[in-house]
Symmetry: D2
Subunit: 396 residues, 4 copies
């Protein structure tokens, strides 16, 4: 078990689950990391199915959701999801990956019993992937970091909604069995649950991106006269941004969890390399230039972990945690970028070669600093909050 990851303050049941997940990932999934069937948009479906079968056998499929459908607390989820990330393939195998984890969470919170029944079981048992259709192409001026710019529309037509628009960066759309689609009605933002594939939802292309851990990659999508039965709307018309908020903070935090796990593992690989590789008469780690980088990793990893648990505790009080999850997202992603960069640097040529997971972790974390809101957008919203708080405090 990783000695870097903290056990104090984690419940017994969460420790038990997370130990099982860690053993599973290290023993069963790490060997797949060099599997030639890994393609440039993540593992092929048969390979994914093979790993998922192992996860079910090991009792670690969707391990943060209990048999009765309850979710672990956010603090407990952190302990589990961090361990699932010790291999980049781990979240896929255990189905703790994005966007499924967030989609399951959202359905659990907002969906009607009928919609839950229809979609959730296949998501929880990992037999179906899902996608979340929110962001839109820049060239058309659609919603990117600023969701208010959403251009996709939905209009009632009898007892159906008709959806039209284009989406981009839709993670996992290629190969997904269901999708949550955001569009604007006259009331405001709406969400719909739809079965996939659907002839009205056309995958124009899968983007060629710097990261490649997400099954299905990130797709550009055209939605043309998609007709959705009214009862497949999630919640109420016009409440879409409110539901997005429900999903937002936990999903954002779960990214932090998984990527912390990946960086803990990258740091193990770099540490091992630095202890074995000689240069200028001594092991690399005896060069302060390298040893200091590993020491800095220790601190950054610890700080990332502490921020995750702190934010998890805030969410576990029932707070929405917008500001706290922004703080955690920025602090963790920037810390992990430094960690990944140092792992690469410590390993020299080996660090930029695909022979270990380190090179991919570096690329994934680079994307992470942008996905789910670039650092700058979060700082911007934090600055707004600081101003609001100051005004409240200085109001008459």
């Amino acid at each position: 078990m990783s000695k870097l990851l903290q056990r104090a303050g984690v419940s017994a049941r969460a420790l038990q689950i997370s130990d099982r997940v860690e053993s599973f990932v290290r023993e069963k999934i790490v060997p797949y990391e060099r599997d030639p069937r890994l393609g440039s948009h993540g593992p092929s479906e048969p390979l994914a199915d093979e790993m998922k079968a192992l996860a079910r056998a090991a009792g670690v499929m969707t391990p943060h959701i209990l048999d009765n459908g309850d979710h672990l607390t956010q603090r407990e989820t952190a302990a589990v999801l961090i361990r699932s990330g010790l291999s980049i393939l781990g979240p896929l195998a255990c189905h703790t990956c994005a966007p499924d984890e967030g989609n399951m969470y959202l359905l659990g919170k907002v969906a009607s019993p009928e919609l839950k029944q229809r979609f959730l079981p296949r998501m929880i048992n990992g037999s179906m992937r899902s996608a979340f259709f929110m962001t839109e192409p820049a060239e058309e001026g659609g919603a990117g970091s600023d969701p208010s710019m959403m251009l996709t529309t939905c209009k009632m037509d009898g007892n159906h909604w008709v959806v039209n628009g284009r989406k981009t960066f839709i993670t996992g759309a290629d190969g997904a069995g269901m999708g949550i689609i955001m569009a604007k009605s006259d009331d405001g933002a709406c969400m719909f649950l739809v079965d996939l594939p659907n002839p009205a939802i056309r995958i124009e292309r899968v983007l060629d991106t710097i990261d490649n851990s997400m099954p299905g990659g990130h797709a550009v999508i055209a939605i043309e006269n998609l007709r959705v039965p009214a009862d497949q709307m999630l919640g109420e018309s016009g409440e879409g941004f409110k539901y997005a908020q429900v999903r937002l903070a936990p999903a954002r935090l779960s990214h932090c969890m998984r990527w912390l796990g990946a960086c803990v593992r990258a740091n193990e690989i770099a540490t091992d390399y630095a202890n074995r590789r000689m240069a200028f008469g001594k092991p690399l780690i005896d060069h302060e230039g390298v040893g200091f980088m590993l020491a800095e990793n220790l601190m950054d990893l610890k700080q990332a972990e502490l921020m995750i648990y702190w934010c998890a505790d805030v969410l576990d009080t029932g707070a929405q945690g917008g500001a706290e999850s922004s703080m955690a997202k920025v602090a963790v992603s920037e810390a992990l970028m430094r960690v990944a960069d140092r792992c690469v640097q410590c390993m020299g040529g080996q660090g930029v070669a695909g022979d270990t997971m380190v090179e991919q972790v570096f690329r994934e974390i680079r994307a992470f600093r942008i996905y789910d809101g670039p650092t700058e957008v979060h700082k911007w919203s934090l600055a707004k909050k600081i101003k609001r708080d100051w005004k409240t405090e200085h109001a008459v």
Copy 2:
């Protein structure tokens, strides 16, 4: 009460004490910050006595030590000492300052009942300052960051020890009523408790340093044939480094606590300025260049606080916490340097002027990155530990 500082996870008694301390510091001590009696080596003795009298009246003298002589836990101490630091003068008023706080802790752990009785009461009631004589001048090749280079000697002569050597950076020596002196015997390092002033302990000069919060400043000292009765040795001959270790981690962490408080306050001042001052048609905070800096402060302050509580919890388990306190010291001091620097920058010309506490906090934190072990020494020892741990793990 500061909304930035966390209350969750802090015991009721510690919250009660820390609230009392915060109110006291904000209401009674902050007004002294612009007192003309503040000199370049900290407040004059009469001024210090005046503030201490207020602290006694408010029931916040040495607030982390209970009436029965017990210390609060480290976690509880953190809650209290952070608040005492909300003014740079707070730790002096409440006698939670360095090196007294660490000296009291050491005596509580190691001194004989007789030595405790002789020295501790006056320290705890704040009527006597103390000093810790360890570091030695660079030009003679003495002990700086590397304590094994200690040149000061002690030799038995009858029932006395005779001590000779030179010390530098001895904080608070000028004006102290007692001192803990480190010297080397044939057995190894030793510690002695001595009354001050003493004719054999000559203050050559008080250094002119970038910081000026510590009463008495930092002195260069000559010790010439100082005779110490054998029963004023602290513990055993040759065990001095072991005792230094006892003092080390908690004292190091208490620096982090006090300076976090100071930076929380500096951030309040900078935030207030940024909300009031206009430039280019809008308040500074509406400029992302300023608003982002304040957002970054939020994150750095939170991470510093989390590292402090994490390390406190490790110490509260009874562990020596060498590595953890190194990690906390580096992470906190570097984070606070960034915070203090941004506060200065947000305030423009006002940031480098002494009209607010911000300018001094910046200078103090600069020194903090060196005092108690420069960042580089801690990284060096962490790298050694990483290597040791790797070897243990990979041993047959």
Copy 3:
């Protein structure tokens, strides 16, 4: 002669002058750095006069202005002013300091023959200091980084102008023999040359700032019904901002020059220390943690020097160089902050003590990042320029 500073590409006459300046500063001025007559607002007047007498004797008074009144080119000036900065006291001794250097430049470019005759000779021979009254107090919403917010007014009354307002951060006002005052008439900004002291120009106080190299410090000033004869207006009414532009870029660049010299010297001191001081069994420089910092200093110093010469060349073409001098100011000040910080850090406790010039250089450079426009204001104006250039390029 410093081997770090480049000689290639510098004219023979400039090399000759700059060698003379370097020898003078190193041999005659450096010894004054520990003179007890140095006060907290820079050297006393008698001490300054003593050093200036030495400069005259050595033929290095105002060395960048030739006997015929011509200025060296900016490239030549760089070679000279950098060397004058090798001691913090050097620019004062050689009268290459701010704000005098910029004020002389401005008068040389804009003043009428009568005003030149009246003021310049005493400025050039160093017998009179001068001040530039532009910035205004934040608490009143006056002109700081945004000069358009100027509140000080001037109104014609007969053949005099009557000036009213408050100024702050007026460097060298205390003790100056002349001042250039900015105020707003109905036409726009105006500049006036006035003899000092003057009963209508009251020094409210001298600020207590982080830096203390500037003779006279930085003052807060009240101007109350100051009457200035009309012929003491510099140039035309309403053209004040245009003249400020003339002064702007060269004055900004001259700061970079002097502070580069100071950091070259601080780096020499730190390098010497790192080669002599032992720790953990070897000289500090053999620790990569220290050696790398010195290597980074080499690169930052070189980059700062290259930026200065590049910007000087732009100014020497006759261009106003607003963007280039912003780039140079930001790049140089930020690089020198890193250099000064590393020098402090390499020297441990000695780095934060006033025994060497390093501690002061660190404080001065911190202020430099704000004086003459904080980093953020320059980035802001560069971003505006980038946008303008893009628009020009993409215009039909």
Copy 4:
């Protein structure tokens, strides 16, 4: 023509060539950037041949070597190679790429007339690629950053040398027509020129690396009883490291040149995006968070350019420039990493997608910080030089 790139101080002939190169790259090569024939190890051979034919037609094949075989000066080469890098494909098309550029330089300096005649013409006209076999696998403890660890051997056997060993990260070996192989004889390091492919030089695999601009990628190679005629040794036996030094600094600097060009272009793309894309009610560039990044890019690009020309000038004096090229390599690669990172960040999701060159530039620059000596190795050797210089200066 790029307005960012400086023309002052560049000779007329170099400006003429570099303008031709810039026009060629922008007009003819940029369109190839989205060509589907681009594979994961750079362009296919037919695609490369197609681009090279265009370069010959445009008169920009190996443009830094004149018709008479003379090389441009380093300063002139900088002007040309920077422009060739404006597309990642440019250096390949113009045959200014690594390792060919350095190999041609080395042959020009060291090879016998016969060897020059045999190999150079095909290299200069771009019809043959070459490789440089130096670095060796880490797992065997071979030469990485520390060339003294070389394990590959060469032994005389009659009038042939027999070479055995393994090499890794051999750029362009796959598809090369000639190779320069380093091995150790009893005399020391040796270099051999060999025709490729050769049955005794087996490509074990081409590494999967973070970068993919180099044709042929980076290969792992086994050399098994390779027999090289004695007259194909480059220079003398045992002088291999000396020749490596000849190649070293110019080759290192040429990396800086090409990647500066690539980052200038990435910055153009990001600037264009920031001016067009709206978010939160205004173009991205009007958000200081974005505008400041572009301003910082301006400064970093300028500093990189200045370092390159400075180092080129040193080399043009005939100096070996080891320290200067180390300084340039570190300063330029780290500056360009910041630039590339900011370009990605400004573009949000578009920055991590392969639709523009920005995403690839980011990955290439990450590798550049390691290739040709990781940053830390250069700092280490600079620290050694600082120590040597100090010793020289302080010797009796």
